[in-house]
């Protein structure tokens, strides 16, 4: 096994281009499990931890640019205002030790449908920046997940950053698991209301081969929600929203939970997220008035 330690992004992209099968490693919280258990023996490991650009974040036009290698702890400490749902999701990841190392770039690279950061990225319409020696390009999170653990990332590309749109309304993230820490999500849900464009975003995790949106639920709530004053939706509306979110889920039975339970939990989380969001939206509406 070859271990490459590029110190600039250019070197890293050249390394990835020369070794398309090379496995990038940053926090190591996924990659090392595979190595420790002999599930993977890549010919090349490409350590990205020495590339300053990947560990930085800051404003970038209408977005916050989050380097793909920023650990969850930094996101929780620094980006609660800029990315509330992502910061919440980051708080639910594993344990302090793992949050000190794990990154959103790693979540995207591994592309497990249970990854905690996928639902907020989908709900908030975040954009993923990919780079290779051929240049940089951006892909909307909503177009990134193609099939089980397969994404738009090409073999010669690295995930360099995530562009997080400035929040324009309430954002929520909820997750079901057996305890508060060290939980691989049984089901996760994120909701984002955009008061400016009057649109709704959703993200569903652990309930299908890829992270996914509930587009029918988004359309339904976009049409039903009282964007003007944020009045509390009727019980029927809330219930219907929950049903539509649950019906988008395509879960399987596995050791973490049954498909039925996951669907049910999805409708419960969707209703809760909606009611929390409405409360927050009304506060925002009062402030603006």
């Amino acid at each position: 096994m070859e271990f490459l330690s590029p110190s600039t992004l250019e070197e890293a992209l050249e390394a990835k281009s020369a070794h398309p099968d090379g496995v990038p490693i940053m926090g190591g919280t996924d990659v090392m499990v595979e190595l420790n258990f002999d599930k993977r023996r890549p010919e090349t490991l490409i350590d990205l931890a020495r590339i300053p650009e990947l560990a930085e974040w800051g404003p970038d036009g209408e977005y916050t640019r989050l380097g793909a290698g920023v650990p969850y702890t930094r996101i929780i400490e620094n980006l609660q205002k800029q990315a509330p749902a992502l910061a919440r999701a980051s708080r639910t990841v594993a344990s302090p030790q793992i949050r000190n190392r794990g990154t959103v770039g790693g979540n995207l690279g591994g592309a497990s449908p249970a990854g905690d950061t996928h639902p907020p990225l989908l709900a908030t319409d975040a954009v993923i920046e990919l780079a290779s020696v051929r240049g940089r390009r951006t892909v909307a999170a909503r177009d990134f997940y193609l099939s089980f653990r397969t994404t738009a990332l090409q073999p010669d590309e690295l995930i360099t950053a995530i562009l997080l749109p400035a929040p324009k309304g309430p954002q929520q993230f909820l997750k079901i698991g057996t305890r508060n820490a060290m939980v691989i999500s049984v089901a996760g849900f994120s909701l984002s209301l955009d008061a400016e464009n009057r649109t709704v975003g959703t993200g569903l995790g652990s309930v299908g081969p890829t992270p996914m949106r509930a587009e029918a639920a988004e359309e339904f709530l976009t049409a039903e929600f009282d964007w003007e004053s944020g009045s509390v939706p009727s019980e029927a509306t809330v219930r219907r929203f929950g049903e539509l979110v649950a019906s988008a889920a395509r879960p399987i039975d596995d050791q973490r939970g049954s498909a039925d339970y996951r669907k049910h939990s999805m409708s419960v989380m969707a209703r809760r997220a909606l009611s929390w969001s409405v409360t927050e939206y009304r506060k925002g509406a009062t402030r603006c008035a």
């Binding site: 490693i25 190595l35 258990f37 030790q97 000190n100």
Partner: protein
């Protein structure tokens, strides 16, 4: 490959390292520092917790090559701060664990000590209030004790926090 790193203040070199092995393996098997324990090898248990460039991490999930040039502090390095050589005294956290009876089989203890030290550094060490039960449970959520002696462990953290706050710093 060869890996140069600083462990507990001392520059060390590990030879003949296989690039895919973990920092934990390097510490235990190549540098003779068996304090960090090898249990789950997947970040679930926290027994291998060390400071990696000042931040706690599971050393089983750091590739050896990633440790090149980095500063590591292991459980063996906790006591060093209190004294030198044969006068080496246990750290406040270690003393508190002993006194509170927070050690049963002892396998999880090194990881808990390092993670507790970090919690105290980030709270009383910076003049902030001592952590309450909820903060302690949150900070130690990634450290499993299969003897399930958690209550005594939490007692020990309270005790250590009190003493460290009283001493004014991590003296």
């Amino acid at each position: 490959m060869r890996v140069n790193l600083n462990v507990n203040g001392e520059d060390m070199t590990a030879e003949n390292v296989w690039p895919g092995e973990s920092l934990l393996y390097v510490l235990r098997e190549r540098l003779g520092l068996p304090g960090s324990k090898n249990a789950c090898e997947q970040g679930e248990c926290g027994s291998c917790t060390v400071y990696f460039d000042g931040v706690t991490a599971c050393s089983c999930m750091i590739a050896a090559g990633q440790a090149e040039g980095r500063r590591i502090r292991t459980v063996e390095g906790l006591a060093e701060e209190s004294g030198k050589g044969s006068d080496k005294k246990l750290d406040t956290v270690q003393d508190a664990f002993v006194e509170a009876g927070a050690v049963q089989c002892g396998f999880c203890t090194p990881g808990l000590l390092v993670q507790t030290d970090d919690l105290l550094e980030r709270t009383v060490g910076q003049g902030k209030p001592a952590p309450d039960d909820a903060e302690i449970r949150e900070a130690l959520a990634g450290n499993l004790c299969r003897c399930t002696g958690y209550e005594k462990i939490i007692d020990a953290v309270h005790l250590a926090a009190e003493r460290r706050a009283a001493s004014g710093s991590n003296a």
